[in-house]
């Protein structure tokens, strides 16, 4: 049986798995807020589905699904202010889109095109998502250190998975957050599996939140399938961070409903019954139920949302598929601020090679 956090007393949660309100909604969480969050989660779920389909049809490379974890990304994105900085890992599509990264860019990154990392708007100082596990946490601590040293009222949100907590990098970064009282909010997306290794084989502690004890920072374990809980915990932590009170570790308990990535086959190591049980805690469904029972979400609204989402995703996909390829020498253009002569020579070598291949009918396309 996996970890389920469903508003256990003393833990933070508002809307339970059945879509029932179990605690009074916090300030700022209006019906409108709930509807917006719901719509975003639906958008991300559909985008995710589309991305997997694109991969299955050979139109995209390996993709890490965020199915089942939409509430974590959405709650974080709703809580962050533009001036904050996001240091994401590879399952943070929901937060990135709320920060202004376009859906087309999300597809581009996993389609193997660096231009997907050209963020604008609120995300302009955000990091690209991080593939080597846990290594991003120290960047976040460094960003927080820069913020603190400049005396600005900003904070960093850095995310990682449960498996990442086994790495020294994560502990080292959190340790510094404690020692230097850095304005950093670390969110562990506890989706309970690190590829085939379950949480219980990763660490012997009862919770991941308690890892904060060893480094002297605040922490909280929350229901990661409850978007309100995620929002509230992250917002509180960000407020504390911005006012100089230091960092927080948040363990958001959720479940990875998908394969690890499109290159993985989770049926090799995971019981189907576990997954179907986990679906009962679905973050999207519960919010829909809650809104529906309040009379604030009708089947007609659902229909028009799905239609609108489909349209915007279709457009993102079309834009993704129709984007002209990067210039062949693009992968050399950004290595240094100014291209050093030896690399310039290699660039010429590359261009000559392309000319030769084109003359021979071209054999360089692999996408």
């Amino acid at each position: 049986m996996f970890d389920v956090l469903d508003q256990t007393p003393g833990k933070l949660g508002f809307i339970d798995a059945h879509g029932k309100l179990v605690n009074e909604l916090p300030d700022g969480v209006s019906i409108d807020w709930l509807q917006q969050s719901y719509q975003h989660m639906v958008r991300i779920r559909q985008l995710d589905k589309k991305a997997v389909a694109l991969q299955r049809t050979g139109q995209m490379h390996t993709y890490p699904s965020c199915l089942g974890q939409e509430a974590i990304g959405t709650g974080i994105g709703m809580a962050m202010q533009d001036a904050d900085v996001l240091v994401p890992y590879y399952r943070d599509q929901a937060t990135q889109v709320l920060r202004g990264v376009s859906m087309q860019q999300i597809l581009q990154v996993w389609g193997g095109d660096e231009r997907g990392n050209l963020f604008e708007g609120a995300a302009v100082k955000d990091f690209p998502n991080c593939v080597p596990i846990g290594t991003q946490m120290s960047h976040a601590a460094g960003i927080a250190a820069a913020m603190k040293s400049r005396g600005v009222k900003q904070a960093v949100v850095a995310n990682c998975g449960d498996g990442a907590t086994s790495r020294g990098d994560v502990y080292e970064a959190l340790n510094l957050v404690g020692v230097w009282q850095l304005p950093m909010v670390a969110v562990i997306n506890n989706n309970q599996w690190a590829i085939s290794v379950p949480r219980g084989l990763q660490t012997a502690t009862a919770t991941l939140a308690e890892k904060a004890l060893a480094v002297g920072i605040d922490s909280i374990q929350i229901d990661g399938n409850d978007v309100v809980a995620v929002f509230q915990a992250v917002r509180n932590a960000l407020t504390r961070a911005r006012s100089g009170k230091g960092g927080t570790l948040i363990e958001a308990v959720s479940y990875r409903l998908s394969d690890h990535t499109t290159a993985d086959d989770a049926t090799r190591y995971r019981e189907a019954s576990e997954v179907s049980q986990a679906w009962e805690y679905d973050p999207v469904k519960r919010l829909q139920t809650y809104l529906h029972e309040l009379g604030q979400w009708t089947p007609a609204q659902e229909q028009s949302l799905l239609a609108e989402v489909k349209q915007s995703i279709d457009k993102a996909v079309a834009d993704y598929l129709n984007t002209a390829p990067q210039a062949a020498d693009d992968f050399m253009a950004y290595v240094f601020a100014a291209m050093p002569q030896p690399l310039q020579a290699q660039r010429e070598r590359l261009l000559a090679r392309l000319e030769r291949d084109n003359a021979a009918g071209g054999n360089c396309d692999d996408s």
């Binding site: 193997g112 593939v131 590829i195 660490t203 062949a328 992968f331 290699q346 360089c364």
Partner: protein
Amino acid sequence: MTANTASKNKEKAVGKSRATNARPGADNVHGVTLVEAINLALRRALSDDPDVVVLGEDIGINGGVFRATLGLREAFGYKRVIDTPLAEALIAGISVGMASQGMRPVAEIQFMGFINATVEQMLCHAGRLRNRTRGRLSCPMVLRAPFGGGIHAPEHHSESTEAMFAHMPGLRVVIPSSPTRAYGLLLSAIRNPDPVVFLEPKRIYRMVRQQVVDDGQGLPLDTCFTLREGTDLTLVSWGAMVHETLLAAKQLEEIGVAAEVIDVATISPLDMDTIRRSVEKTGRCVVIQEAPRSFGVGSEISARIAEEALLYLRAPVQRVAGYDTPMPYPGNESLYMPSVADIVDAATATLENA
């Protein structure tokens, strides 16, 4: 690549061969792939020697993300086939510890892009445990990792950083380029009393099938394999690039050029004798690597040719290589990787020198 490669250094056994019951490995009737050969060698090592353990991320129930360890946990149990927490520095570090006590850990790093956390352990400890204890302790561990590009994997999954380990004293760096060599070299690596970094070219994990006789025979380390004899020029390569190199040799043959092809196999310590003898014979050499051009294994080989065989050269040594840039995201990865045409071009340019 074919099984009956002409070889000056005959692929002869060096490992101890112990009688063992034939074990059901991968389907060997139609030959095995490179990754299946790895699996066969691991099976053989685990059953031959109770001190061998296999460890890493996702290697147990999942059989490794490339299935190199498929079925091993079922056959040998949790204590011999160990899923570790997600922590590469730890994997290398505990391997040093286990090896120092006489065990033979064979650790898997999921992708070579994630091997970097092991660098401190490999450089500061694995490579010098014997030396700093004046031989009192040794470190018979193997660190395996799939490496190289060409499979459209995400960022950080496709680098070729073999030179980094080759530059570390006290380590052997071994790279197979075919199923038979994968089987034989891995067995020898596991039986070797010193630490071995064993890098598996994942692009050719499933590219060809070869009959591999699962007889427990190792292949010699520290020696190159001459895959094809020729008199006009020497092509030197290792890993997946051996595939393009052999294809280039074939194309050259069609235009009347007899290329000798050398698979370096153990890139460190480097068997310079085989390369030098070949260059003395042909007078021309092209070194092919997928890794960035500068400061790599190809640079070392070129320098050694300059030191040891310059007067035999009839043309400057050429390198065909990747670029001194990060490996591009998969959309552009083929722009980065050397092609058969690049090798043929470099070879013909070399031949154009009088």
